[in-house]
Symmetry: C2
Subunit: 266 residues, 2 copies
């Protein structure tokens, strides 16, 4: 793969949306932290984000912010630092692993329709509803799973035998989210996959693809997968992304460390 090919790929992935550096770091640490004790050296981090076009200065700011917010910790080792997720960062990352890395939709989850009691104001209702509820009107929403956090004064009914009108489909997957998913699927499918020997390029494409998918997927809960047809934009994007994650598996950290040392005259 030539540098130009790599730049084309990078452009395609950058075209999927702006990168927040701290969020890219979370994606990277999450990808490498299948186990609680995984650590990644600052040098490898710098190498990876450098390939993405992120400066060392921006990396330092992001790492500082993530440590301050309790997402990551650092351990000095000689002239470099090793970074790893805090207990909280790790458990939050673990919690979303199944929805990021698999297409295994838990269809046993119950969808419910909830009508707020008349004494609640619309702002109170919005505050009370779980983050991933979909609001159909000021006082009526679709929820998934447990509704224990709602006062028993809510009217809650199983959402069954639905036949979704268009406005409801749009409420469940707003147009901008759909457009972002369509773009991601398209750009991921257009990638020129690097040769297996191009360790760094492959790692960077994997991580950027993963990052954009994660960024979009975490904007909503399970409702689109439970209520929309199996070819809704998010499902199509997931298939494209999971294919890339399989084709470009996560490289061992030791290999990346070696690549760093080669690039920097070891």
């Amino acid at each position: 793969m030539t540098k130009t090919h790599f730049q084309d790929n990078l452009d395609r992935l950058h075209g999927c949306g702006p990168l927040k550096v701290w969020s890219v770091i979370v994606t990277i640490l999450g990808d490498f932290s299948e186990t609680r004790d995984a650590q990644i050296s600052g040098r490898v981090l710098g190498l990876l984000v450098g390939r993405m076009g992120i400066t060392n200065q921006a990396l330092r700011v992001a790492l500082h912010r993530l440590r301050r917010d309790g997402w990551i910790e650092a351990k000095k080792e000689g002239r470099t630092s090793n970074y790893f997720l805090t207990a909280q960062g790790w458990s939050m990352t673990q919690a979303v692993r199944p929805i990021i890395y698999t297409d295994d939709i838990d269809r046993s989850q119950t969808v419910r329709l909830a009508v707020a009691p008349p004494q609640m104001s619309v702002p109170e209702i919005a505050e009370t509803l779980p983050k991933d509820a979909v609001t159909l009107s000021g006082r009526t929403a679709i929820l998934v799973g447990q509704s224990d956090n709602l006062d028993p004064d809510w009217l809650i009914t199983d959402f069954a035998d639905w036949d979704l009108p268009n406005w409801t489909v749009t409420a469940i997957c707003p147009d901008d989210l759909r457009a972002d998913y369509v773009l991601l699927a398209h750009n991921v499918r257009a990638l020129n996959l690097p040769h297996p020997s191009d360790l760094l390029d492959r790692a960077v494409l994997r991580l950027l693809t993963l990052h954009h998918w994660r960024r979009l997927r975490l904007r909503h809960g399970p409702l689109p997968d439970l209520l929309l047809p199996p070819d809704w934009a998010g499902a199509t994007a997931r298939r494209a992304v999971l294919e890339i994650l399989t084709t470009l598996p996560r490289p061992p950290l030791a290999d990346l460390q070696e690549a760093y040392e080669q690039e920097n005259g070891g």
Copy 2:
């Protein structure tokens, strides 16, 4: 039964709410019109409503209004007129017979929850919903049976596994309706039933009980019976009323005609 007993009974039933004379006539003609050709003479009508405390003048006004509105027709016969329901009056009366005269709730009727599309205004929604729908919020309502008259743009789901909070119970059976049913059940149970030989008294008590029940029952559709516990106020009133209708069966019109002639030295 003494006159005083009859007056007590009358007071109890009058205590259930005001009488609209035209509506009392519809109750009477409906009760006597199991078949399309049933006719009731103006004299018997006058005798019955007279016992209820309705003047002949009020009766004439009501009959005039009902003929003008296409509910009833009259046929002269000698010095009196015979009254009967028009085809339309009869079919409207027949349509509600099952819900007035039986406790046979059709539990196969599907209850649905409907959310209006966002482009509809709240007044438009209220206009579109069937008369017996129960509104839970400006944009969400409970319906029974077919929802074919609603645009496919409505979100409609079966209303299942409900656990009704109090405000929903009140929406389905408002406090004033409940209070009216409680009063009707109480007053009907307190009636001093006349001896079987008191033909006219028995007929009048039957008709007034039937009238107040009909007046309340036609204020709502099947939703309370389908969604509220079996001892909701309307069901309790129904049991009390149906007991009276069984204890005081409808007398043959010929017997009432004879009673008129006896009273008037026929």
